[in-house]
Amino acid sequence: MKHLLSIDDLDVESLTGLLDLSEQFLAVNQRDIPKVPALRGKVVASLFYEDSTRTRLSFETAAKRLSCDVMTFSVAQSSVKKGESLRDTVQTIAAMGIDAVVVRHPAAGAPHRIVDWIDASVINAGDGRHAHPTQALLDVLTLRRHRELAGLRVAIVGDVRHSRVARSNVKALHLLGAEVTLVAPPTLLPESLEGWPVQVSHDLDEVISEVDVVMLLRMQFERQREALFPTVREYTARYGLTEVRAERLKPDALVMHPGPMNRGVEVAAAVADGPASLVTEQVANGVAVRMAVLYSLLGSGASVA
């Protein structure tokens, strides 16, 4: 495997292999010196055309813990502001000698184009509403550490329409045998769900007491160009994981959120910080998953072939 663009690049075996490898890196991250020389001399560039806190820091931390050198590209301080095209920017960075580029871009498919332009490995850190494979990997890793995934009932709740996290998670969870229900108002679902291995509900109260996991999505106000729901308050009343609604969860149900959270909108602060929440664990696991991805892509020998 040379690139990771989508969960579609993985089958059950390679997905499970990445999760197993992530466990090894979780152990490395527990050590006094959470760093190994595995990818010494490799150069990883992070190229983020959209704002990010956790994904970017997580990838950069992962690369550093593998002893990679990290080149950080910040769009705001770059020649992109002078009108440089994505292709020129990427080829310029590649010409400096890099082994991998971690890219986030508002246009779906941008990472796929980059693959054609440069020799380095390309890792998709989120492209438009299309895919965010490492988020899905860290989510299934987090769940796998608590539950058997086969037969697990997972509700993905919220702004599915604009969510690359939802798209990637549906695929990863399905590969591992979990049963996914999307819960959202019709306006926040994609126009077509044909081929999605999911059930759909428009009523969170109907499913809340039956699922093992509630995965909340961030309301992506920045991608919404029209009024898709009447008011934020009404959205929260019907689809938010409020404290009252959380009381109807199964006693051992788990709550996840990819961050950043709109506290009080899709999830109540007390629930996000409560005992059922895996939110901080998701962040910690994200570093290990990204170490596993970098190690698999840059350490497999595929890049020298």
Binding site: A27, V36, P37, A38, S300
Partner: protein, 189 residues
């Protein structure tokens, strides 16, 4: 081509080699104080546990046993797929102690080189020694074992197969095979 050449050790030979190496470790270190046995995956941890059990048998002293995965410290990452085998677990602080690295077969020495790097991140041992069941030659680095079950001259197209009941199932044994066309993992041991 894959051809059986010879049996090197049967279960009895292996047991006697363990017992002798255990005695040599204790003799060389004037007792079992401050010792830590650290096995290298895949079979090293099992061998280390056997050595520790033997030492406890005649010295009456429990010796801590650890396991080390050297995958992330290897120098051939990127040349082939290097996959970690198990968790690194060393139950005591190795600083100031004598660490005996334990492996089944010593070949190029590159695994041991990686293990020395991995150890430095766990602490600063007073000394590091090396125990192996088989030294098959073909060293590519200036590394030599302190304790050897058997020196076994081999060809590069030969493979030394170690079988330990608790790792591989079946009876203990070590065999020499010719694997001419399959290629031995060159530079791995």
């Amino acid at each position: 081509m894959r051809e059986f050449r010879a049996s090197v050790f049967d279960a009895g030979d292996l047991r006697r080699a363990h017992t002798r190496i255990a005695h040599e470790i204790v003799e060389r270190n004037h007792g079992a104080d401050d010792l830590v046995l650290v096995g290298l995956y895949t079979r090293g941890p099992a061998i280390a546990r056997r050595l520790a059990a033997a030492i406890e048998g005649f010295e009456g002293r429990e010796v801590p046993v650890g396991a080390l995965d050297v995958a992330f410290y290897r120098d051939d990452i990127g040349l082939r797929t290097v996959t970690p085998v198990g968790p690194t677990e060393v139950p005591v602080d190795i600083s100031g102690r004598v660490v005996v690295l334990v492996d089944d077969v010593l070949f190029t020495g590159r695994t041991v080189r990686a293990a020395l790097d991995a150890l430095t991140e766990l602490g600063r041992p007073r000394a590091v020694q090396l125990a192996v069941l088989i030294d098959r030659g073909h060293r590519e680095l200036p590394i030599r074992p302190d304790y050897v079950g058997k020196n076994l001259p081999t060809g590069r197209t030969e493979d030394v197969r170690v079988r330990l009941a608790e790792v591989d199932g079946g009876d203990d044994g070590i065999e020499l095979w010719d694997v001419h066309d399959e290629g031995v993992g060159e530079g791995i041991g």
